[in-house]
């Protein structure tokens, strides 16, 4: 069920990116897309039935069923990259504001 929510979240983010003309709102939409994709990638690795978090306490535990740890490892690094790209985008937004005194893309064209 949460898989569908993640896909719709991604589509919402895309819709926000299309319709908003404000730089800050566009970065917020990008973040929403990122959250949706992260949830989706983690959900690929979920395994039904007695699945426990991928932490073993001793080598005798290896017969148990675990969730897939590989998507989790990918998403762990993707989140940290996300904060870097968001910071870069916000820095660009701030320097845009310094030049044009607005965050709005349409007003920007008129004042230039």
């Amino acid at each position: 069920m949460i898989q569908y929510a993640a896909i719709i979240l991604f589509v919402f983010g895309l819709y926000g990116l299309f319709t908003n003309r404000n730089v800050i709102k566009m970065i917020v939409s990008l973040n929403i897309m990122e959250i949706g994709l992260n949830i989706f990638i983690v959900s690929i690795g979920y395994v039904n039935g007695g699945a426990i978090a991928p932490i073993i306490s001793s080598t005798q535990d290896l017969g148990l069923i675990y969730v897939d740890p590989l998507p989790q490892a990918l998403v762990l690094t993707a989140i940290v990259i996300g904060v870097g790209t968001t910071a870069l985008g916000l820095a660009i937004a701030k320097s845009i504001y310094k030049t044009y005194q607005t965050f709005d893309l349409d007003e920007m064209g008129e004042s230039a």
């Binding site: 929510a5 800050i24 959250i35 969730v67």
Partner: protein, 83 residues
Amino acid sequence: MTFYDIISIVVGVLLLVIAFLAINAKKLINAVLFLSALSMLAVVSFVLLKAPDVAITEAVIGSGLVTALFVFTLLSVRGRESQ
């Protein structure tokens, strides 16, 4: 219908509602705060998907640091407008 299903449906619907509010918010600061709430709900869904490592990372970064960076950007702009 188990308890797990009910919780995941509630979290999924809340995710969509808050994402809709964040995209359609009129004020920028409201959009940023809804984004913070959205990452908090994403933490819940990561816990439901049995990914504790990812949940810790998202809790620290998504709802703390990214929100702080957005708020600082808006604050610096507000300061210059009033001058």
